[in-house]
Amino acid sequence: MIKLFSLKQQKKDEEGSTRGGGSQKKASAAQLRITKDLNELNLPKTCNTEFPDPDDLLNFKLIICPDEGFYRGGKFVFSFKVGPNYPHEPPKVKCETAVYHPNIDLEGNVCLNILREDWKPVLTVNSIVYGLQYLFLEPNPEDPLNKEAADELQSNRRLFEQHVQRAMRGGYVGTSYFERCLK
């Protein structure tokens, strides 16, 4: 058993005392953990990160340029916001590039299980990067967020591919306009 100190022998200083003065504000546990995650980020060659402010490791962008699959040649930007409850809660990830994709809607919401219901504190930023990359290689029509795109992928692969290409070159698919996002 831990031998406990005797509290009553402790004299407590009054508020405003300078004991241990000059002490620094400590970094939060979330900050320590994200620093570790980022320092060990092992990006596939199709991915890159951008930090608008290098001192702020909690807000950054991930750029994915798939080199195979439907989305080859495109350039897609995701924003990451890491909150104070990381890693208990996952980072908030949004797609900033308009994309015609079954699992990404036109507001940039992304349907990836580990970003919501399957997040675990052992997962890292790297896990999310691989998850997002996988979405571009294997769009999943079973879990649609953009239902039209998902239906089309299931019923007419050729047409879906054409629409993806049109969206990436910049143009309308149905009534939605997509900005050009080719590399």
């Binding site: 970094a27 990160t49 239902k147």
Partner: protein
């Protein structure tokens, strides 16, 4: 009525039972316990206890501790009283709605319990600084948020002092007794920061927040909750009813009504019943109905632990008690283990002696080549005046480019000082480690 002998008699009777615990020994006493009348005096006149949260648990804790004889109580809470609190937060009355919880609770208890000198702090825990927390002997919390627990845990860990041989200075330990309830379930635990499992050591014990797959709420809603989540996650951001700068606030009745109405529309479209205003509020704020008896049981367990810590009259629980009253009554106490690699409490702090004129490059090279470190590609950050600063990180190209000039700079030009902490992350260590810089002019004759 107020004759002297009567008052003395009352005082005697008032503490009679507490005295039995403090003024005689017994088989369950802490090995260090020495029975004496002094202990009651310590509890009443010296021992400072901070209660964090003045809600369901906080009201119970304040009442329990005041009745046990603690007088130097402080209570902190940022909330104000709402109608829905009154069924269980018994220190508040209907007239108190809208007033700060901490202040009302303190006024009630100070009036009701003779001699009690509780002090209220109506603010967020983050608004109070190290000097404030350092003044307490014990912190007990009744919180409903993991973020707040983690923050408080981090604060108490940061107050720990270590001796030169890296052993813990036990006089810097402020025990934290943590209670939590959810419906019919609850837990109480005793944390000795730096000595036993802390909040961060057991972070994965907290159940994840209930979330639904985005595609389900977007396309195939089946439950009323799905409809409300849809409005919360997708529709709010799309329509921004109060402009794009206003985020959804579950405490704002107008916001709740808006979400409620939109969720009802959506439920109608998908043939889903039972979207109610209360459910909307519940989903938005993640409300689980609070049960007064669970709060009472958990607060009593916490208050007992505070009493044991303050008096040593009994060995503390070791160290995590769970209580489940959902199906009969079940309780179990186990010993949560301290994680040797805990990000918060493992004291990874090392000291690096360094010339004040050295450059960051010198530190970087030392981290890679010195036998004590042998790191691969250390990422170095620090905290200056409460702001995070990235000094150098080679593994991320965009950061490397913008921080590589720092390598040539002197430590003092980067804002580092004698005693400053740098944070170093590397694949060779399980966590980010802290290194305290100790300036030492190695070359004494430099000026000659």
């Amino acid at each position: 009525m107020t004759s002297e002998s009567q008052t003395a008699d009352y005082q005697n009777r008032r503490w009679q039972h507490i005295r039995k615990l403090l003024e005689r020994s017994g088989p369950f006493c802490h090995p260090d316990f020495e029975a004496s009348a002094e202990i009651l005096n310590f509890i009443m006149n010296c021992c400072k206890v901070l209660i964090v949260g003045a809600g369901g648990l906080g009201c119970e804790l304040l009442k329990d501790l005041a009745l046990m004889g603690f007088k130097k109580l402080h209570i902190v809470d940022m909330d104000t009283i709402e109608l829905s609190n009154l069924n269980r937060q018994f220190l508040f009355r209907r007239n108190d709605i809208g007033l700060p919880k901490a202040k009302c609770a303190v006024e009630f208890v100070n009036k009701r319990v003779p001699g009690c000198e509780a002090v209220a702090h109506h603010c967020a825990i983050q608004d109070l600084d190290e000097d404030f927390y350092r003044q307490f002997h014990i912190v007990v919390c009744g919180l409903d948020s993991i973020i707040a627990r983690r923050w408080l845990n981090g604060m108490l860990v940061s107050l720990l002092q270590y001796n030169d041989d890296r052993s813990l200075d036990q006089s810097s330990v402020i025990p934290m007794v943590d209670g939590g309830t959810e419906g019919f379930k609850g837990n109480a635990r005793v944390i000795l920061p730096g000595m036993s499992a802390c909040i961060e050591c057991t972070l994965d014990l907290y159940p994840p927040q209930k979330t639904f797959p985005l595609c389900t709420i977007a396309n195939t809603p089946r439950l009323p909750e799905h409809c409300i989540e849809y409005v919360k996650v997708i529709q709010w951001a799309k329509e921004n009813p109060w402009g794009s700068s206003t985020t959804l606030d579950g405490d704002d009745p107008q916001h709740v009504v808006w979400v409620y109405e939109k969720a009802q529309e959506r439920a109608m479209k998908h043939g889903i019943a039972n979207v109610t205003y209360r459910l909307t509020q519940g989903v938005l704020k993640n409300i689980i109905p609070a049960v007064a008896s669970t709060n009472a049981a958990i607060a009593a367990a916490c208050a007992t632990e505070v009493f044991k810590l303050a008096s040593s009259c009994c060995v503390n629980m070791n160290n995590y008690m769970v209580l489940n009253m959902a199906d009969g009554v079940y309780t179990y106490t186990f010993s949560a283990e301290k994680r040797p690699d805990c990000v918060a409490c493992c004291n990874s702090t090392r000291v690096m002696k360094i010339d004040p004129d050295a450059t960051l490059q010198y530190i970087y090279t030392k981290l890679c080549e010195d036998q004590a470190y042998l790191m691969k590609s250390p990422g170095i950050t620090t905290v200056i005046n409460g702001c995070n600063k990235t000094l150098y990180m080679s593994s991320i190209k965009s950061i490397e480019e913008r921080t590589k000039d720092n390598l040539k700079k002197k430590l003092t030009d980067l804002g580092l000082f004698n005693g400053a902490d740098i944070l170093v992350a590397d694949v060779t260590t399980p966590n980010t480690i802290t290194i305290k810089l100790k300036f030492e002019t190695l070359d004494v004759d430099m000026t000659k």
